[in-house]
Amino acid sequence: MKVKDIINNVFGYTPKNTYHFSLPDDSDNPESTTIQNSKDDQKNSPNIFENIDTNLDYIKTKYNLLINSDIVTRNFILNARGKQYKALLLYIDGMIDSQALNDFVLEPLMMRNKNNLFDSEQNRVISEAVTNNITVRKVKKFNLDEYIQNCLIPQNNVKKETSFKDIFSGVNSGNCALFVDTLPVCFNIDIKGFKQRSISQPENEVVIKGSHEAFVENIRTNTSLLRRLTNNENLIIENVKVGKITQTNCTVCYMQDITNSDLIAEVKYRLNNLEVDSLLSAGELEQLLTDNNILGVPKILVSERPDNAVKNLLQGRVIVLVNGSPYALIMPAVLIDFLSSPEDTNLKTIFANFLKRIRALAAFFTLLLPGLYVAITSFHREIIPTELLYTILGSRQSVPFPTIFEIIIMEISFEIIREAGLRVPSPIGPTLGIVGALVLGQAAVSAGIVSPILIIIVAITGISSFAIPDFTFSFHLRFFRFAFILSGFIAGFIGIGIGIFVYLSTLCDIESFGIPYTTPYAPAINSKNNGFLLPPIWRREYRANYLASKREKKQDKISMKWKF
């Protein structure tokens, strides 16, 4: 490298080519991108058409068959009494029992069986009367739909439906719909076969009042979990293959009538333009989809609970699932999402808000407490009450190290213990935590290496870092507390103040998929009750407007109509 190049690099002007995506903030014209709640439901859903091709076209539009990857239509020829009719099966892959579908729906309808060999126009005679050499016969005309329902489908729950609305609700819940050409009715066959409860409890996000199901490795099972909870045909699940060698299946899931189209387009754009050989886990995909890594803050929420994922879907976010990984990536995610737990909406609001405040306090302690301790003992001894001062002095009498050295030793030991606890074989796993904390700490104090006050500070810091719901975020805080320890040591509260200023400025500059990271506090927008603290459930009328979703309202103004 020549000197000239170095000088050019340092002092010369290089235009920044940052990747920038911004979400339109249509707070003044909400009508342009939103669909009001009431307008949609008044459309009447049409009845089933007699022509099967018309039916197919309608289904294609409604279910977005061209892009939806798990909605399956099976065209075949139905044999009934010797006549052939065109028929169509509509079902959702992963929700139905395939074996039952083959044996009890397709086989009796498609293959030749004794019933169907009868091939004449013979009608069934009901009664016959002879008068004056004229025979009058009452016959029952051949009714195809009766015939199919009564004779052909050996399935325990078959209903005839005439309106598309009922058919779609059936298909959404796991049934199979049979359309036959020339028939204005459709058969709603109950053949549900999605997997239940091989799904286990979530390991990292335990919720007391919610469901105890978690995502599994199979992507179809995961999508079926999402389908079941959403129960709506507007949920789109698109398939994308990532990785040149592994061709890993990833799905992008969103609610078509809620999520902002630009956001969907951006997520798909990023996902489709990855030139990697392999993609093996959701963690790798999270890093591949993040635009920059300033401060190491997470910008995508990772969750293993389907109810959490669906909650976010209904707010207007996009979910990405990766085959082989039991985690859903939820984007976009801002700072307040990383301090919220899925339990919050299950509790009464005062308790939920109390817990949120405790978590915010825990985040503050994790980041700043050791730094503040170093600053106070180094530069600001007058803040300490005199009694406490003598305790600190007394406890530090036998310690040979200066405070900064002590703190760094203890913090690094704590991190080593934490890392070791992950790898210890399970019989002695829990004991190591207790052994490490108590015995080591106690022994260190007795040996005079550290002071007892410092053990308390380090313990509170460590425990606070466990109180943060998101794993990546707590990592980020643990990492940066060392920066604050250093700044507190250099210049006391002034150093910490300047550190907070730089940290806060950097945090405010970060954007997650176009949304500022510190929304809704900076820039100060009216988030309509979607800030950090939860309002009571009857006040959660609006969706978060920083997500620029298409439907603004999610509840009526008076949602508990039974009360009034």
Binding site: M1, L393, G394
Partner: protein, 405 residues
């Protein structure tokens, strides 16, 4: 290449700051400091002043053992406070730090010469707390500090924190701080004051003065005989920065009443039924009390209307306090007693001390239009000629729990 350069640059900056701020760190770090708890200033034979420092040696808390904290006092003769601190810094291994200094004691002799220089020097120091108490002691400051030892508390700093609180419920002393003193030095309608401290006479061995009233007590000559060495009863009154007089307990109660600084107090008034005995009354000032100051013919005319609520504390046999007549008799006696005591105190400050330590000047400022007018009037000189008109109205309920015996 760019990022490596950036990293090197960051490391260099951090190292530069570490080195630059390191000297301040080692000056202010907790481990290198010796914390002075009390500071005493006396007249010295050899040099200008004799400064006494009191330290607490923190007990080392090891496993199981809990040693008592040791109290250490050291004095040095020097020309100024800064000089004294310098000499002590070389004497001790640690550096002296005044940021936890709770009391500053001056002896009577020093106070009579004028202490404004010391006050300004101390307030100029970053470390000194403006809320530290300032005490004038009747004996040597060194003797006073050496006699301080906590009897009911574990540590002496706790004692120093708590003792001014008794001003709220006895009124026998006042919470005089060095910040207050500094403010009053420059204010031209009030004068500074300090706590009066002394060593108990049973310890010092001097004879007691004959006391008629048990409210007449004062530090250094009080009838307490106890284990603790020092006592703080009464006040020292200054005119500008020189000591001009002392107030005993009941006069301090008057001072606190007029400053609206006392929540309740107990006094002994003459019993209207019995000439030779006293009744103890528990008095609470009410908020509708007023002080009104007017300038009449160039001299201040001060009208004081105070309202108290009271309960009878000492109950004798065969006494009934539900009777309207007896209650009003006790009220009258109380009123007369308080009026006489307050008037005595006020005339003492105006004629004997010639110093408006109560700060009555602030009530008259609103009558003047500009600062120049007030300065021309010269309140401090005109206070000598003031006339006081004290009216007390006490409303005595029954006794505290008993109403009739």
């Amino acid at each position: 290449m760019n990022s490596i350069l950036k990293k090197i640059f960051i490391i260099i900056i951090i190292l530069v700051f570490l080195v630059a701020f390191n000297t301040s760190y080692s000056a202010l770090n907790l481990d290198n400091l010796a914390f002075v708890i009390a500071l005493g200033i006396d007249v010295s034979d050899t040099k200008e002043i004799k400064v006494t420092f009191q330290f607490v040696k923190a007990p080392s808390t090891t496993e199981g053992s809990n040693q008592e904290s040791q109290i250490i006092e050291d004095s040095v003769d020097a020309n100024s406070i800064a000089n004294a601190i310098n000499i002590m810094n070389t004497y001790f291994a640690k550096r002296l730090d005044l940021s936890h200094c709770r009391i500053i004691v001056f002896s009577e002799e020093i106070a009579a010469h004028g202490i404004s220089n010391y006050i300004y020097t101390l307030m100029n120091d970053v470390q000194v707390r403006p809320s530290a108490n300032i005490i004038v002691s009747k004996c040597n400051a060194e003797y006073y500090i050496k006699s301080c030892d906590p009897s009911l508390e574990n540590s002496i700093s706790r004692y120093y924190d708590l003792f001014p609180d008794s001003s709220k419920y006895t009124g026998y002393l006042t919470n005089a701080t060095i910040g207050n003193f500094f403010n009053s030095l420059i204010c031209n309608y009030c004068e500074p004051y300090t706590i009066l401290g002394g060593v108990t006479s049973s310890n010092s061995g001097s004879s007691q003065t004959a006391n008629v009233d048990d409210s007449d007590v004062q530090s250094g000559s009080s009838p307490i005989s106890g284990t603790k060495g020092v006592e703080n009863i009464g006040m020292a009154v200054f005119k500008h920065d020189k000591l001009v007089g002392e107030l005993n307990a009941i006069e301090t109660v008057c001072f606190n009443i007029l400053k609206k600084d006392v929540d309740s107090f107990i006094i002994s008034i003459p019993d209207p039924n019995n000439e030779n005995s006293n009744i103890d009354v528990f008095v609470t000032p009410l908020s509708k009390s007023k002080i009104d100051v007017k300038i009449v013919n160039g001299s201040p005319y001060i009208k004081i209307d105070y309202y108290f609520g009271a309960k009878v504390y000492s109950v004798t046999e065969n006494s009934s306090y539900l009777d309207e007549n007896s209650l009003s008799a006790i009220s009258n006696s109380c009123n007369k007693y308080l009026e006489s005591v307050l008037s005595e105190y006020l005339y003492k400050t105006s004629q004997e001390f010639k110093s408006d330590v109560t700060g009555l000047g602030k009530y008259v400022i609103s009558d003047f239009a500009t600062n120049q007018d007030f300065e021309n009037y010269n309140w401090t000189d005109n206070y000598i000629n003031s006339t006081f008109d004290v009216t007390i109205d006490t409303n005595i309920d029954s006794g505290v729990l008993l109403t009739k015996t």
